[in-house]
Amino acid sequence: MEKTMRKGDRGRRIIGSLALCSILLGLYFGLIAAPPDAYQGEAQRIMYLHIPSILTAYLSFFIVFIGSCLFLWKREKRDDILAYSAAEIGVLFTGLTIIEGSIWGKPTWGVWWTWDARLTLTAILFLIFVGYLMLRSLIEDESRGAVCGAVLGIIGFLDIPLIHMSVYWWRTLHQSPSILRPDKLPWENVHPSMLIALSVNFVAFILFYFYLLSLRFRLGEMREEAKALKLYGGS
């Protein structure tokens, strides 16, 4: 166990440092280098935060799905720890996405919360994540909690496309597509440095996400090891 600890730590430190410098780079590009948007002015800079965090939220939900499938198939504790860690960090990122979304909404639409399709989807994703964590905490029996969590992870993931469809249809029904459609990314009039800012921030978020994930996974593994020591130590 000692050997893998050091190799794992070194790998994680590399990701950590990479994440750190790409975050700084992203901040520089996002706040300083990129020019203000023609319509929204400065507020558009929040988009460099908003888009990457939404994608990270969906990525973590996908990892919960993968972890849950592997766990149900092979019943290895490792996959369950992966699913739980991804869910915990997923809640964090989804919650932040909702906060950013509403802050971005204020200057552009003048109101803190609109039932815009993307915000609604993020809110639903957040509710599913919270449901997952609540379920895991309210089931005492370890192995049963893991199986039930895995089932919610899989069913939740299968439901995402259906939720997408129903929310988008529901949106187009009510809100006539305005020129400033937040659902459609304003790619046409984008300034090259804006594109750079967006991609750098995206890389920063992804690296930081995987750094947090590996750290949380490490924590889960160590807790498992402590439990095993108490248990097998006795036999």
Binding site: L138, I139, C148, I155, D159, W170
Partner: protein, 225 residues
């Protein structure tokens, strides 16, 4: 074929227990009608917008009544370790899933049978022509609710605060059903034809098929956990 026979027997047992105790069915009836009245008082529905708001209120009543039924679904199995007795039998776990889904479906359809005409009268809707399509949309929505509801009723079987946890997990996942049935019914009431509502109907059908198969495969691991 064996699966259907076992499902039949399980359904026979559930219906017999329900007819004797009549716990769920009466509670769901009164709760459904009560909700309808409460909604009627709570919202001042102008006659012209009745077609717009009515389906939403109707479906809220069905969803809450259905959740009430779901929390009682495995009650008989909880007494006397009967779930263990069922797991001991060479019973196909999918049969247990199918039996519980159809049992809850029957309960909800019976409630809908009573609440629907009441809803019709209360909101004094007139067009009879679209009734069959309304019923089709309601049926598909109820099937989707029962399939996912039964699966998560089994998931939260041994959890603490079961009655709170079940709606919390179930409702976000039910959003496609909620939107599809309410929008579908509203379009039917407003326009009277099927063309626009057809996409919602396809969504409902897709939902039911996907989660019926997912339930079939996953239920075994949930109930044995």
């Amino acid at each position: 074929m064996e699966l259907l026979k076992q499902t039949g027997w399980l359904l026979w047992k559930d219906l017999l227990l329900e007819l004797r105790r009549r716990e769920s069915i009466f509670a769901m009836f009164f709760f459904g009608t009560l909700l309808l009245f409460v909604f009627h008082f709570a919202f001042e529905i102008p006659p012209d917008k009745a077609a717009e708001m009515a389906p939403g209120l109707l479906w809220l009543a069905f969803l809450f009544t259905g959740t009430l039924g779901l929390t009682q679904l495995f009650q008989a199995e909880r007494e006397n370790h009967c779930l263990e007795a069922l797991l001991l039998c060479p019973l196909d776990r999918a049969a247990l899933f199918l039996a519980k889904v159809s049992f809850n479906l029957l309960l909800m359809l019976m409630v809908e049978l009573v609440v629907f005409p009441l809803f019709w009268v209360l909101f004094n809707l007139t067009s009879w022509a679209i009734l069959p399509s309304l019923i089709l949309v309601a049926f598909l929505g109820t099937v989707g609710f029962c399939v996912l509801g039964t699966l998560f009723s089994a998931v939260t079987l041994k959890a603490r605060a079961r009655e709170l946890l079940l709606p919390l997990i179930l409702f976000p996942l039910m959003i496609p059903i909620i939107l599809a049935t309410i929008r579908g019914m509203e379009i039917l009431l407003r326009t009277g034809q099927f063309d626009e509502a057809f996409s919602w109907l396809r969504l409902l059908l897709g939902f039911d098929v996907i989660f019926l198969t997912a339930g079939f495969l996953i239920f075994e691991w949930v109930i044995e956990a």
